[in-house]
């Protein structure tokens, strides 16, 4: 057709919606194109040439026709089947779902944002490899993703006046740790270990993060979720369904 342009990009499938009888609309986070929504025809038929490549969490090399509001996928080659590896581990899969939904909420259509692509690909890759507890990987992804979006929390220096930490209070609206003079009423008072863990998750210091105990992890997860929900007005639905009960690292050793 005249005026239709074809493009190619590396992309992560964020989510899919059924369309009609056998098609799907896929939301893709492209490395150079940013977020796009595209129609994948016939993808729900079991003999579809796309197979499972256009499912959430898969990284693909896609070729699409640009459309007015929706593009159309013409080709999809697998670059990394993270989604397929993750789906076999329920806890990891719920963590991946929360990553994908957050990435969707933090990005705008057709606005290139390579940093979010790279961060998400890294998070999914780590979940697929089962390197660390999936709940910790999710929290680390979340604090970094909101940072890239411009809402970097602080877990050390005071978010109000910059006074060096450690501090004892945490305030969502202020942007993280607050000193005793900046501390607004109603601030949380996490344990010092929780601040240490959050700081480690923000910079990817896994040797510190992996030594944390369950109670610290729970408190950190609660603060991270609250922080993300505070910045994303309608909230991230899948965060409520993240399976944080199982020690996934231990579960995996038994099953793989």
């Amino acid at each position: 057709m005249v005026g239709m342009s074809l493009y190619r990009d590396a992309a992560i499938v964020l989510r899919t919606h059924k369309l009609g009888e056998a098609d799907r609309i896929v939301t893709l986070l492209g490395r150079s194109k940013g977020k796009v929504r595209a129609v994948a025809k016939g993808v729900r038929r079991t003999r579809s040439r796309f197979g499972a490549r256009l499912e959430p969490g898969m990284v693909v090399d896609v070729q699409c026709y640009e459309g007015r509001s929706l593009d159309t996928v013409t080709q999809a080659e697998s670059l990394a089947p993270y989604g397929d590896q993750i789906a076999r581990d329920y806890a990891a899969w719920t963590a991946a779902s929360a990553m994908l939904e957050t990435a969707d909420r933090l990005t705008e259509e057709r606005e290139p944002i390579t940093a979010q692509f790279t961060l998400l690909a890294g998070g999914l890759s780590a979940l697929a490899a089962g390197q660390h507890d999936s709940s910790l990987l999710l929290d680390s992804y979340l604090v970094r993703a909101v940072s890239v979006a411009g809402w970097a929390p602080t877990f050390d220096a005071c978010a109000g006046c910059g006074a060096p930490g450690p501090h004892r209070a945490f305030n969502l609206a202020s942007g993280g740790a607050v000193c005793s003079s900046c501390r607004p009423p109603g601030s949380a008072a996490p344990r010092p270990e929780t601040f240490t863990l959050l700081g480690a998750l923000l910079v990817g210091d896994w040797s510190t993060a992996s030594t944390s105990d369950d109670r610290t992890r729970q408190e950190a997860s609660g603060l991270v979720s609250a922080y993300v929900q505070w910045h994303l007005e309608r909230g991230v639905r899948s965060l409520r369904l993240v399976d944080r009960t199982a020690d996934t690292a231990a579960v995996r050793e038994g099953t793989r």
Partner: protein, 195 residues
Amino acid sequence: MVQDLIDELGRLPGIGPKSAQRIAFHLLQADPADVQRLTEVLTVVREKVRFCETCFNVAEAEQCRICLDPRREATQICVVEDPKDVIALERTREFRGRYHVLGGAISPIDGVGPDDLRITELMRRLADGAVEEIILATNPNLTGEATAAYLARLLSTMGLRVTRLASGLPVGGDLEYADEVTLGRAFEGRRLLDA
């Protein structure tokens, strides 16, 4: 009025505006007795068909035809997402046990968690110890795979044989689109899950 009919038909799955128009004009020219029969069937289906109290398949009574059939083995339960999947699997004539319809798959992004499916009802069916094998026949796509992983973990402590349809099933699609031969083979080659 004719346009109303065309509009209503066009809202059915798989029927585009052209087909809707064709069906509408077919009905207008058809024998009134034929149209009457169609009207009656639609009314009866709407009033009488409901969900089986045991397995949540479509049923015309409190229980579905399969749950009421004494020849169906009570030792095997095949877990599927939708009633449409029961029809697809029945076509293979491979399975002689009973079903359990979850009512979907776990999908956190869509806000669907384990509590939104008929999982408690499944666990209740296992309480008397009569069931020996659970066959997880959720869709061969990622939500189906993750739902199977969740169930396998939940069932792992119950001393049951938990199997999954063979991985030879083409991935990415919906079970209802699989042909009988492929589905039948997937059934025969189902693998044991060691959760």
